[in-house]
């Protein structure tokens, strides 16, 4: 990273809008710690067992239930807030692991011997054939399913996405940088391989790695939503299970789903991914206008 890039990033509107949305989500992730048991009695507002006997479910939004309740009597806002934390952890872990593993693959590919490069490329090609959510589904159906928390999920997803898709794109970028004149200059000056990779190549890979990291987040969150929609994670409440509950337990009289319970997590998911997308647009524009 150099100061020019950071300065442009600071002026970028999409970047700041994205950061703002993320800050709101972070606040949402912390909120249940303070609200549950204090302002919200656990018996009524608990995301899994809560039930309000004083209103008829599903209830439209009111002062007591800001987003209403679903057909089972859960408070939708409380569910949404409790589901934000696992998603937030998952997204952060997945983003970091994706970026790091993709960069490592690219650096190995660029500075090591052709033989090592080829075998790393082979592993990337093979991993690219595996859609990560499907792999997570296989894991989730096994004996380990109760141990797959958000962190494990993020690590596995990040490894698959980073070594597979991200590694291939970054490796191509690294190779196109390796033929530029300044690399030849460094080589003539007798720079070691390690130093070449970290000092000369890495700074040019960081913007692209950032973009890829943020794109991987959307994939990871949707995959987690899908798997919890199918009931295969250890997480109690997540956006995916909310959609599952909302669409499964329909109103016994009208046959309608609880639209507030279905819409709220879907809108949250889209907004969350949009935030990361806006940040990646900001980083890309800053990096593009620099060149």
């Amino acid at each position: 990273m150099n100061p020019g890039l950071l300065r442009r990033l600071r002026k970028s509107t999409p970047f700041w809008i994205g950061v703002f949305i993320l800050v709101v989500f972070a606040a949402m992730a912390i909120a249940p710690t303070f609200l549950l048991g204090n302002a919200w009695p656990t018996g009524i507002y608990d995301p899994v067992t809560g039930y309000d006997f004083e209103v008829f479910h599903p209830a439209p939004p009111s002062a007591a239930h800001l987003l209403g309740t679903d057909n089972q009597g859960h408070d939708v806002l409380s569910q949404l807030l409790s589901a934000t934390r696992p998603t937030f952890v998952l997204a952060t872990v997945a983003a970091l692991v994706t970026a790091i593993s993709a960069t490592v693959v690219a650096l190995i590919g660029a500075v090591s011997t052709p033989w090592v490069d080829r075998s790393v490329g082979f592993i990337s090609d093979a991993l690219l054939l595996l859609p990560a959510p499907i792999f997570m589904l296989i894991i989730g159906s096994g004996a380990l399913s109760q141990e797959i928390g958000p962190i494990t999920f993020g690590v596995i997803y990040g490894l698959i996405a980073g070594i597979g898709g991200g590694g291939i794109v970054l490796r191509a970028q690294a190779k196109s940088i390796m033929v530029r004149p300044f690399i030849d200059g460094a080589r003539v000056a007798g720079v070691s391989r390690w130093r070449m990779a970290t000092r000369h190549l890495l700074p040019h890979l960081v913007p692209l790695a950032a973009v890829f990291m943020l794109l991987a987040v959307a994939g990871a969150v949707i995959a987690d939503g899908f798997i919890s929609f199918l009931g295969q994670t250890a997480t109690d409440v997540s956006w995916g299970t909310m959609v599952y509950w909302g669409t499964t337990f329909v109103n016994p009289i009208t046959g309608d789903p609880a639209w507030n319970g279905v819409l709220a997590p879907s809108v949250a998911l889209t907004l969350f991914c949009t935030a990361f997308h806006l940040i990646s647009v900001g980083v890309r524009r800053a990096a593009d206008s620099q060149q």
Binding site: I138, S141, P257, P265, L269, T270
Partner: protein
């Protein structure tokens, strides 16, 4: 040609390595076998006898060898209780193939056209177009599928009834073809007419000076496909199936066109300030001509390269759509196999999904090589 063969061999080795790793990984991750979830009150010795009968008591390596040999003779082995997997999978492939091919073509056309347009015009309207694409790209697929089945199913059935007549099935009882055969034929003819259209436009460009208008190309392609369907004598059946496939197809297009839009937009922005764009303007070409011919044909190359990487993500979207809409293609099939813990079946489905992504990737590579004169080999 040699390039294609090289890519194919390399890809096949990658696929084989991937499947081997997956075989052992699945054995490790999902302990137990077919008889673990389906014991149905059998005693331990009876289960052991069943295991011995179906060869599940042998070591992992013996099972692996058996599976590997069955992969090479093309039968993909049998399920644990002895039904041939290749038969089951060929029943599922046409449904997936049709939605995948049809959906990708439509999504490509819509996505690139919008990306081209919105990268050229800055302003509120272009931001809105981008945002709508982004919303669908990041929409939660089961939610989208749910809304579609809830709201689009009834009108679609009404439409189908008014077009096809009250009793929906005279076409089906009249023919001897199965749905799968007709769907397979539909996807193959779609691919074939795509190839024909591509070759004809390329020839026209090379030997005459005529450049066919994009809309004529699209209409010609659709016409050729439909003509092909009727040619087989099962046009009505195909139309009926098309009504059935419309909702999964629509869902898949919605989920994937945003990807094309975003990539096209960023790569168009990259070429917008290149010198040849300025030259084109200076020559007196209209902005539209410069954008649609000169800039977009240069921007399409990064699109293809980036798209190769997103193939597995698109496959995932398809799996999710199939699962949520009950469209019994490969995704639905794989899910069933996983819940039944039938490892040969899971491996069969994974092999086919891997092979499909591999083929799409190689097709993309070939397209890149044939479009870009700089990397075309002598």
């Amino acid at each position: 040609m040699r390039y294609v063969a090289g890519r194919l061999v390399q890809g096949l080795f990658a696929l084989l390595g991937f499947l081997t790793v997956m075989f052992f990984a699945v054995q490790l991750i999902v302990p137990g076998d077919y008889f673990t979830p389906f014991r149905l009150g059998l005693t331990e010795s009876e289960v052991d006898a069943l295991r011995a009968q179906y060869g599940l008591d042998q070591s992992v390596f013996v099972q692996y060898w058996r599976w590997l040999t069955s992969l090479f003779d093309g039968s993909l082995g049998t399920t644990t209780i002895g039904r041939p997997i290749s038969g089951l999978i060929t029943n599922a492939i046409p449904r997936t193939l049709f939605v995948l091919v049809g959906g990708l073509v439509i999504a490509f056309l819509i996505g690139t056209a919008q990306g081209r347009w919105s990268s050229w015009h800055r302003g509120l309207r272009s931001e809105v177009v981008t945002f709508v694409g982004l919303v669908f790209l990041t929409a939660f697929p089961p939610f989208l599928a749910f809304v579609l089945t809830e709201r689009a199913h009834m009108p679609m059935n009404e439409l189908r009834r008014s077009v096809m007549g009250e009793s929906a099935n005279p076409w089906r009882s009249a023919t001897t073809f199965t749905e799968e055969q007709v769907l397979f034929q539909m996807s193959v003819s779609l691919l074939a007419s795509l190839a024909v259209v591509a070759v004809v436009t390329a020839l026209l460009r090379r030997y005459t000076n005529a450049r066919p208008r994009p809309w004529w190309v699209v209409i010609g392609g659709i016409g050729l496909t439909v003509w092909w369907w009727w040619q087989g004598g099962r046009g009505a059946f195909a139309l009926d199936l098309l009504f059935e496939a419309a909702i999964p197809l629509f869902a898949f297009v919605l989920l994937s066109y945003g990807e094309f839009l975003l990539i096209m937009q960023s790569s168009m922005t990259g070429v917008k300030h290149d010198p040849y764009v300025l030259t084109g303007m200076a020559k007196g070409l209209t902005e539209r001509q410069v954008r649609n011919r000169h800039a977009s044909s240069n921007a399409i190359l990064p699109l293809l390269a980036r798209f190769a990487v997103s193939v597995p993500f698109l496959m995932t979207g398809l799996v999710i759509v199939e699962r949520s809409l009950g469209w019994s293609g490969l995704g639905d099939f794989l899910f069933f196999a996983i819940t039944a813990q039938d490892i040969p079946l899971v491996m069969g489905a994974l092999a086919v999904i891997g092979a499909v992504s591999l083929l799409v990737r190689i097709a993309l590579d070939v397209m890149t090589v044939s479009i870009d004169p700089r990397i075309r080999r002598p």
